[in-house]
């Protein structure tokens, strides 16, 4: 037993660590790690991953919320969309064939790689659209010199539509869909990048939680696998977040992209060769 346990913990710590450094979350890395190295079927990997994603989101959110980076109201509005998608996705995950899940996963990895390469800079808006104003979504964010800068938000319905897709992918594939969420908030709704990342991380808990509850209630979580994975991914993410301020993550970006593309290729190949 000890051998299996140490193997799972090592995989999970590694996935949590890389997920934290890349900003993509542990789910993107733990699902392929379980499928490729532990020879688990996609559904088992997805169930274990969803639960670990809830844990890492909660762990990382503590500091972001306390320090004011998370826009709580934006999160609450968009969670309506992600929860809808996640519940449908988790329900479908029990029906959709493994091969489709693996192909979808490969596509999501490529999307994450694309996002890592094309991250947009801050583009702070001073005027929000009427719906965003009515929902009081504007916030304040410190600039480089520590002064608070007011930002407004636009295009809530469009951002929400992409969030339904993010939730769907999360429930289907056991990932936080952080790359899609940040894209929706950063590209479409024009929130500052760090606010988008912190808010996405906060929302991931609810999105993955919705999926995890479906899996757990259905009895589709392998507890003996999900437990060490949740502990390991959380520990790895914690270590990554401690190390993050001392690393030049920009220089690691190419490494992350290569890892993502390789995993996408492996998952795609597994899916296609199994047909």
């Amino acid at each position: 037993m000890l051998e299996i346990l140490i193997g799972l913990l090592a995989l999970a710590v590694g996935a949590g660590f890389i997920g934290s450094l890349s900003g993509l979350g542990g789910g993107v890395f733990i699902v392929p790690a379980l499928v490729i190295f532990a020879h688990m079927p996609m559904q088992v990997a997805v169930g274990a991953s969803l639960i670990s994603v809830v844990a890492t989101s909660a762990g990382a959110s503590v500091a972001f919320v306390r320090d004011g980076w998370t826009n709580l109201k934006v999160a609450m509005v968009l969670e309506c969309a992600t929860v809808t998608g996640a519940v449908i996705g988790a329900y479908l995950a029990g029906i959709v064939p493994n091969v489709v899940l693996e192909l979808l996963f490969a596509a999501m990895m490529l999307q994450s790689a694309y996002f890592t390469v094309t991250k947009r800079g801050d583009d702070i808006l001073t005027k929000g659209d009427p719906l965003a104003v009515r929902l009081e979504l504007a916030g304040e964010v410190p600039d480089l010199s520590g002064n608070l800068v007011h930002y407004e938000v636009v295009k809530v319905p469009q951002g929400g539509a992409l969030m339904v897709v993010a939730g769907l992918m999360s429930g289907l594939l056991g990932i936080g869909s952080g790359a899609l969420k940040v894209m929706a908030m950063d590209y479409i709704m024009h929130l500052p990048l760090k606010v988008s990342s912190a808010t996405s991380n906060f929302m991931i808990g609810v999105t993955a939680g919705a999926g995890a509850l479906v899996f757990l209630a259905r009895g589709d979580v392998a507890t003996t696998i999900a437990s060490p994975v949740a502990i390991g991914v959380t520990a790895g993410a914690l270590a990554g977040s401690r190390l993050l301020p001392h690393l030049r993550v920009e220089s690691l970006r190419t490494v992350f992209v290569i890892i993502l593309v390789l995993i996408a290729a492996e998952m795609g190949w597994r899916a296609l060769s199994g047909i």
Partner: protein
């Protein structure tokens, strides 16, 4: 309640809530793994091999689960730990829901109620499926 006060409560209490449940879940999971290693290592290996073939143990009702915990069943302790972990988002949304009711911010009462309903519907859909 003024908006700043509401924001202060959210920013002060949300991290405490998240951290407390996370720590409780992690302690339960570690305890469950230690119990499994001590009392049921063969069961663990058997369960792991079954999962590799896509065989899972299936649904457990909460009543059955607590009975097993009382009997010191390590697997049930692990399941409880995982359930506690999934309570993190549920508790956080419920906390916001109650705060918005207190503040009579009905737009956000409706939004958080929808998210809560979604989480509960997911659980019911899973139980039924």
């Amino acid at each position: 309640m003024p908006k700043q006060e509401e924001d202060r409560i959210l920013r002060e209490w949300t991290p405490i809530l998240l951290r407390s449940i996370l720590i409780a879940a992690m302690i339960t999971l570690v305890a469950g793994l230690i119990l499994t290693y001590t009392f049921a290592p063969d069961y663990y290996v058997e369960h792991y091999r079954a999962a590799q073939h896509g065989h899972l143990i299936g649904k457990e009702t909460l009543g059955l689960l607590f009975d097993r915990v009382r009997q010191g069943n390590p697997h049930a302790v692990l399941t409880i730990g995982l359930f506690v972990l999934t309570l993190v988002p549920l508790a956080r949304v419920a906390f916001c829901f109650i705060l918005f009711i207190r503040e009579r911010d009905y737009t956000y009462v409706a939004l958080t109620a929808y998210v809560l309903a979604g989480l509960i519907a997911g659980m019911l859909a899973g139980s039924a499926g």
